[in-house]
Symmetry: none
Subunit: 139 residues, 4 copies
Amino acid sequence: MEPRTLRTVTTAQATAVLDAAQKKAEDMGIQQNVAVVDAGANLLAFRRMDGAWLGSIDVAITKAKTARYFDMPTGSLGEMSQPGGSLYAIEHSNGGLISFPGGLPLMDGDAVIGAVGVSGSTVDDDHAVAQAGADALSS
Amino acid sequence: MEPRTLRTVTTAQATAVLDAAQKKAEDMGIQQNVAVVDAGANLLAFRRMDGAWLGSIDVAITKAKTARYFDMPTGSLGEMSQPGGSLYAIEHSNGGLISFPGGLPLMDGDAVIGAVGVSGSTVDDDHAVAQAGADALSS
Amino acid sequence: MEPRTLRTVTTAQATAVLDAAQKKAEDMGIQQNVAVVDAGANLLAFRRMDGAWLGSIDVAITKAKTARYFDMPTGSLGEMSQPGGSLYAIEHSNGGLISFPGGLPLMDGDAVIGAVGVSGSTVDDDHAVAQAGADALSS
Amino acid sequence: MEPRTLRTVTTAQATAVLDAAQKKAEDMGIQQNVAVVDAGANLLAFRRMDGAWLGSIDVAITKAKTARYFDMPTGSLGEMSQPGGSLYAIEHSNGGLISFPGGLPLMDGDAVIGAVGVSGSTVDDDHAVAQAGADALSS
């Protein structure tokens, strides 16, 4: 029997994600918290911009973990977890999940190699900054 | 005064449940996490299939516990825990419960001897795999 | 920039580890809890033998996590964490660590691909059963 | 009555600390986790080098918090927290403290403006990398 191989985001890639997300936030005139987890959902990098909400430290990190835990954008989880939905109250699991936008898987082809999570503004802003971060890996 | 007797699922039975659930998941082309707890709601066995969602580790274990905590399928709990329902917000108890399908009691006649919990796909898929696992004990 | 590659233990390998550990425990006439985590330190497999201590469920899982968190046998951590030692009180971190024997990294050549943790008897017994589990991957 | 003013480390300073620490670690041939907290002891920045111990994520962050919580190097706390010492078992407070070397306050003149925490190697190595990080602010 042989082990299997996983691809995981590197420190250099994570720093590029943080830099791209920060640039996007600066262009938008907002202050954000940005977190990156690796393929094992373990924290790899984090940055809080000056003046960003303190409560968004944990939210950003949790968004990144949530996105890797379920290999989907955090907002997609929330579409299923509302009252009456198929995954109602899933946020109680895993020490707490975040199910609104701002978390995105990081991709290498079809493989999820980690995830980025952003928090500090409206969820639409959070999502835009996360997307800019994720796009850094396609460049 | 005498103590009372509990029937509880054995390690051999739990392994048969995991094997049957895994086979069902493979036939369905999905990757699942499967957990079994005993009559005391204590973890007895767990298996994560290659590539299954990391967030579903905790969800599967919690589904198994929830099913034994209340001697019912987890989805049945969810029918009562929606806003306005009789058990609204019960998910806050016991360190977190899961109230959507995928957890089922394991039966020996009328006695609940433990429970199985499955997570990693849609809740309908999770339920089907859990049922296949539970059915292993009727064979 | 490219992602990096990690090797991680498979479900099939983890089951082989559990089976080998259980066989060793049976030969020794003891009941054990055995856990396997993957390269991301996420739970991959768990089995409690009939009659094994309930408190050892969490200890076994924590031993596996600890061994992968620090890429060393759990007893080696304990040699450094005693009063006066360089890592005194490290057990307070990571939600709780176990620093006595019974946890071992799982190796593929020089790479740590996960870890096994065993608990349920004396720590010497735990270590012997964990070693038998780990040896299953060298066969 | 007027509020008082705190000086706190900026995101740019924190990034410089991470960069200096990473360079030192690379020169030493070791892989480290590095965390920076601000004057409020809130996480400001974090970076895990490729291959660094997973258990050291939490240890590095906790070292940074501990150093700011008590405005001293973490090893100094440990000198007082051994059995028989004046602060025995203080590690139980604050959700867990780390009291061995690797955490250092970040200074601006006499003011503590935050702290850096490093973990991933021997505590002497951790301390050297933390010192290199802290020194980045004197440059």
